[in-house]
């Protein structure tokens, strides 16, 4: 009996000793938790029609996060990325963001390509009080939803449309203008704003026409436009639409004095073989845009991807990642609310310009008009950023 009691005592002491050791081990583990990686989610289209753009957006996000991790991370914590493919589809984006937040426990989302997946993805993110930073979503209504956790690197359509209308009125002075926009909301909104602004500034009406986004055939629209003999055709479409437009304009003999598109006309692989000289483009960034941040970015990009030219997809994603990392460094706590509060106070230089958000989460930004001259884009408007005068001669088509 005594032996049994002694054994029980010994067992009890052993249990206490094992428990204490376990607790002390836990105590050692606890400080290590502070060095756990910071989890960040990425939602981009990696399949479907927008996969090419999505891969470049992902490249931009990773470029900066890899840079930060290589230099020690944020306060000694690495950033761990979790990527989901949303196919640029609104429904898929909802489940992708839900998965990243609920299952992966991310503290912020770097957003998709296009306004539709961004709208649904950021709705989910808002519900979980997790910041969503968009890089490529231009629709006006994104910022009319009263979201508090939504931030957007894209400065939005109206500043771009007004800048373009001002350029048309002051420099091109067209007598008749045809406007061709896609059936996407951002494009319809944009053309409407451009038309209103041009009417106010120059008293010129825009004859508008519509096409389905990503269409391989605009021959019907171009036939109508050609019959109207406009001085200027302004196209509001995706990169692939720019390529289709130029290709078919050439085939159908549509050659107005001025052609204006959005973004960089060379961005689509479908534009291969075209000569872009004299084509006008409007965006907030172009390769070679003067400025220390952009020069640094382009050097980094060319070092990492020596065969590729810096593109507008990756650069905006890079800027979004810069904004997030800056917020993580300044956040009072690494959680949704802490990061959100830090994001709202952002004021840093990026390759696409200063990043500072309005109340509604949209970045304040300026747009420039560029023109391809001798195979490279040069900024022709506004005066403050101009690197060359606009060449006012007709487009010549293929190389």
């Amino acid at each position: 009996m005594a032996a049994r009691t002694a054994f029980q005592n010994l067992a009890g002491r052993l249990a206490i000793a094992v428990g204490a050791t376990a607790l002390s081990l836990c105590a050692h583990v606890a400080p290590a938790a502070a060095a756990d990686p910071i989890k960040v989610g990425i939602v981009v289209p990696l399949s479907g029609a927008q996969a090419g753009s999505g891969e470049l957006v992902l490249r931009g996000y990773r470029l900066h996060i890899d840079e930060v991790n290589a230099s020690g991370g944020v306060a000694g914590r690495k950033i761990e990325l979790f990527t989901e493919d949303d196919r640029a589809d609104a429904t898929t984006s909802t489940s992708a963001v839900e998965k990243l937040i609920s299952q992966r426990g991310v503290v912020a989302i770097l957003g998709s390509y296009g306004s539709a997946p961004t709208t649904t993805g950021s709705d989910v993110s808002e519900r979980h009080k997790i910041p969503y930073i968009a890089a490529h979503a231009g629709e006006l209504r994104l910022h009319q939803r009263g979201l508090r956790f939504f931030f957007n690197i894209h400065p939005g359509g109206p500043p771009r449309d007004v800048a373009l209308a001002t350029f048309f009125a002051e420099v091109l002075k067209p007598k008749s203008v045809a406007g061709l926009h896609s059936n996407q909301a951002w494009s319809i909104e944009g053309m409407k704003t451009l038309a209103t602004a041009l009417k106010e500034k120059a008293g010129v009406e825009i004859r508008q026409d519509e096409f389905p986004a990503n269409t391989p055939d605009m021959s019907g629209q171009l036939t109508r436009i050609k019959a109207g003999k406009p001085d200027l055709v302004s196209l509001y479409g995706l990169d692939s639409d720019n390529a289709t437009f130029l290709r078919q304009a050439l085939e159908l003999g549509l050659n107005p004095r001025h052609i204006s598109v959005l973004g960089d006309v060379r961005a689509s692989k479908a534009a291969a073989g075209l000569n872009f000289d004299t084509v006008l483009m409007c965006d907030d960034w172009f390769v070679g845009l003067p400025g220390a941040e952009n020069e640094k970015y382009e050097r980094l990009y060319r070092t990492k991807f020596p065969k590729d030219t810096p593109d507008r997809f990756a650069v905006k994603a890079y800027a979004a990642a810069q904004v997030l990392v800056d917020a993580l460094k300044r956040a009072r706590s690494i959680d949704g609310q802490g990061v959100r509060d830090a994001l709202s106070a952002t004021d840093i230089p990026t390759p696409v310009g200063q990043a500072k958000f309005k109340e509604d989460g949209q970045r304040l930004g300026t747009f420039v008009v560029a023109q391809y001259q001798k195979g490279a884009p040069v900024v022709v408007y506004p005066e403050s950023a101009r690197t060359s005068d606009a060449q006012l001669r007709n487009w010549r088509g293929f190389r």
Binding site: A49, S219, G220, A243, A270, G273
Partner: protein, 288 residues
Amino acid sequence: MLSFEVLGQTIVNGIAAASIYMMISLGLALVFGVMRVVNLAQGEFMMLAAFGSFWLFTLYGVDPYLSMVAMIPASLLLGYAVYRLIIRRLLGADDINQFLATFGLALMLQGIAQYLWSADLRRLPYVLPSLEVGDVTLAGVRVVNIGVCLAVLAFLAWFLGWTGIGRSVRATASNRMGAMLCGVDVRRVDATTFLLGTAISAVGGTMLALVYFVYPSVGAGLIFKGFAVVILGGMGSIAGVIVGSLVLGITEAMVNVYVSSQLSALVAFAVIFIVLVSRPQGLFGTAR
């Protein structure tokens, strides 16, 4: 807006689109007419040929109209493998099995193309001078495409009307059992028909690459147009394919210019509904 210039240009645009629709529909109609198999992967054969011509031009500068010829033996090899491994086993199977098997094949070919070449939209940077006929501009490549399409139709007319195997194809399409009883080797006819369909798709693929984007799912979009054409013309009817393609192409172009580009995308589906409800055998088909 209703000027002769616009009308003429619209009809030309419609005929150019019809030449592409004809290429996908001929393969569908031949295979269905003889084998009673709806090949949902017909568009993917076109897609692969389009990529073939695209890469031959981009990497080696091969003229697309030469690569069009090179694509034919390549497509015959692929077509034969598909016929032996899949299609032959589906003959006489339930419609749903045929649908699922060829749909699966279509998805697989799309997936392989996406893995190899990504989902980027590409375009063959090839142009021929445009022709001006009055106020109408004829895009060079579209004119040549129409010529190629006419050449394919002429070849098909000769093949089906003047060769022994062609007559066997027609006999089998008309009455499979009767053809068998008369000593026609229907297995050989099946293989020939399927390979003929893939060869036409190869030609169509290059035509496609010259005027559309090249990307992995380009064939999936076209297959619906092909269905609209064969349903309109009458399942299995070659004459029906020609008329159906022209009707669809020109109607789409007219709706695009005179009504709405949004509605023009719905023309093919409207055709399918209207024909199936009012005349299920199509314009040139006979009720079974």
